[in-house]
Amino acid sequence: MTLPFALLAGLILGGAIAAVSARNRVHSGLFLAASLVGLALVFLRLGAEFLGFIQILVYVGAVAVLIVFAILLTRDADSPRERIANAPVSGILIALALFALLAWGVLLWNPGPPPAAIPALPVKALGDRLLRDYVLPLQAVGLLLTAALIGAAVIALPPPRPGAPDAGEPKR
């Protein structure tokens, strides 16, 4: 294990642990963002430039920002949490079971001998695969996300007021 990897692993694990144990919800969100940046840096160290940049673009730029945005919209974002866990014993048991499952999967996986040279994958080839060979799954994912968006918008619409003949236009 090299020193840069150890530092990155520390950042990822430390950020993740701090994210679940921080008393302040906003701090949790920020620690999560730090952890995700660490993960992107691991991708960059492995030579997966595209994946690393996309990781930051999507997870830090969009997901983490949306998480803190949602935290701000909840009512008592600033008051510290009273207790960290409601049921520590069962929580620890579930976490251990999940870890055992993942460890089992990792141990079963036989990656074979490492390739002599890292295959160069240009971004163009990635795009070709995505938009030519796998265009149907991509469209299906797009459809799913659109459906989720429409569902969220429908939920967010104010309920129709009694007496109003047509509550199509939401009141601002």
């Binding site: 920020l30 940049f53 996309i54 730029g61 983490a64 803190v68 701000l72 971004v123």
Partner: protein
């Protein structure tokens, strides 16, 4: 004239030649970073003075005119003032996040300059596969910094500013990226240097083929720079720091040099995103006409940047600020559908390469003008002109 064009590249190589070979990769990085750190903050300093003087002229007042010749050393006085001011952190503030926020706001634009080609062979970090992606990636980090500043100050105005900023940055990122995507689609590259070189074809013997000289490029440039103004929190999209409503928005509770850092980060972000717009649409460091090729390439880039800054200052002196609902509707109901239409036009442009130029232009312009007027009319119908009556 070639040596003048490459004067900075040659100077760097001469400097590197003085050092042992083992040090050269490190020294090369240090020199490039040093150049970026010297040039762009200085440009920021000069822009603040020019902006204050130009706004003053528009408002019938002289602007700063005391420090140095014609007041042009005002930035030095401002800098010294902000360095010597007391740094006040509110008692209720979250100290660590409050301290980190200015750094998170200033660092990304500086990183973004690394991939920006400011002249022929003048790019600090060449990413042939992912240059544009790197630029967009570092841009997203600013959002988190803005949020950190607004939330950690524990001030209602700051929080309001941060909420506005987040909503605005998230909404305007979509049209920004989609209008940049049209260029990537037709150039087939994510490297910013390659994007500039694709525009170097000469048409009709004198006109250099900037992307803005195509229907999708012209519409894309308009959409891009509108979204860029919003991303950089510039007037008329400066709601996150609207002075007349919420003091200074998300950096209300900052004083001294931390306040100056926010100011710096904002202008560096504006330079960076304008530089990206120049690279994508305005031919980067290329001249507009081939007979002007003798002018050094870096002069073209910085000249275009300066011209854009003057336009932005002019806009700031001219346009009133939008309201929050108008801002969001403008992004989602006009910019986003128009950038999607623009993608379609860019695709058509690609597949009709064999057609006569006039027909392609007509088709593209018609496809863009139709939805443009339709959306604009719809938008105008939703926001009828208000007539204010004042008691005299």
């Amino acid at each position: 004239m070639d040596s003048l064009d490459q004067i900075f590249v040659l100077a760097k190589q001469a400097l590197l030649g003085l050092l042992p070979v083992a040090w050269q990769p490190w020294a090369s990085a240090v020199i490039s970073v040093g150049a970026i750190l010297a040039v762009f903050p200085l440009l920021f300093a000069l822009t603040t003075v020019v902006e204050r003087k130009a706004l003053g002229r528009m408002q019938n007042r002289p602007g700063p005119n005391r420090v140095g010749p014609w007041g042009f050393l005002q930035f030095a006085a401002d800098g010294i003032k902000s360095l010597t001011k007391e740094d006040i952190v509110p008692r209720a503030a979250d100290p660590v996040v409050h301290f980190l926020a200015p750094l998170v706001v200033v660092l990304p634009p500086i990183l973004a300059f690394a991939v920006l080609p400011v002249g022929r062979n003048m790019v600090a970090l060449e990413l042939p596969e992912t240059g544009l992606l790197f630029f967009l990636m570092v841009g997203t980090a600013v959002e988190l910094g803005v949020f950190m500043a607004g939330w950690s100050s524990h001030n209602k105005y700051s929080l309001l500013g941060a909420m506005r900023a987040l909503a605005q940055l998230l909404s305007y990122e979509l049209p920004l990226i989609l209008s940049a995507l049209a260029v990537v689609m037709l150039s087939g590259s994510l490297s910013l240097t390659a994007l500039v070189e694709r525009q170097s074809a000469v048409h009709g013997g004198f006109l250099v083929g900037w992307n803005v000289f195509t229907p999708w490029g012209a519409a894309g440039a308009l959409l891009f720079f509108t979204a860029a103004l919003a991303e950089a929190n510039r007037s008329p999209f400066d709601l996150p720091e609207a002075e007349s409503e919420i003091v200074a928005g998300y950096f209300t509770e900052y004083s001294g040099f931390k306040f100056a850092l926010f100011f710096l980060g904002e202008y560096l972000g504006l330079f960076a995103i304008s530089g990206l717009g120049i690279t994508l649409f305005l031919g980067g460091w290329l001249p507009p006409f081939s007979f002007l090729g003798w002018v050094p390439s870096w002069l073209w880039f910085f000249g275009k940047l300066g011209a854009l800054m003057m336009i932005f200052i002019w806009l700031r002196g001219t346009l009133p600020r939008l309201r929050m609902d108008q801002l969001m509707q403008f992004a989602w109901q006009f910019l986003l559908p128009m950038s999607l239409v623009n993608l379609l036009v860019a695709g058509l442009w690609h597949f009709t390469a064999a057609w006569p130029l006039a027909l392609r232009w007509l088709l593209g312009a018609a496809l863009l003008a139709g939805p443009w007027t339709l959306y604009a009319r719809q938008f105008a119908a939703r926001h009828p002109r208000r007539i204010y009556r004042y008691v005299t």
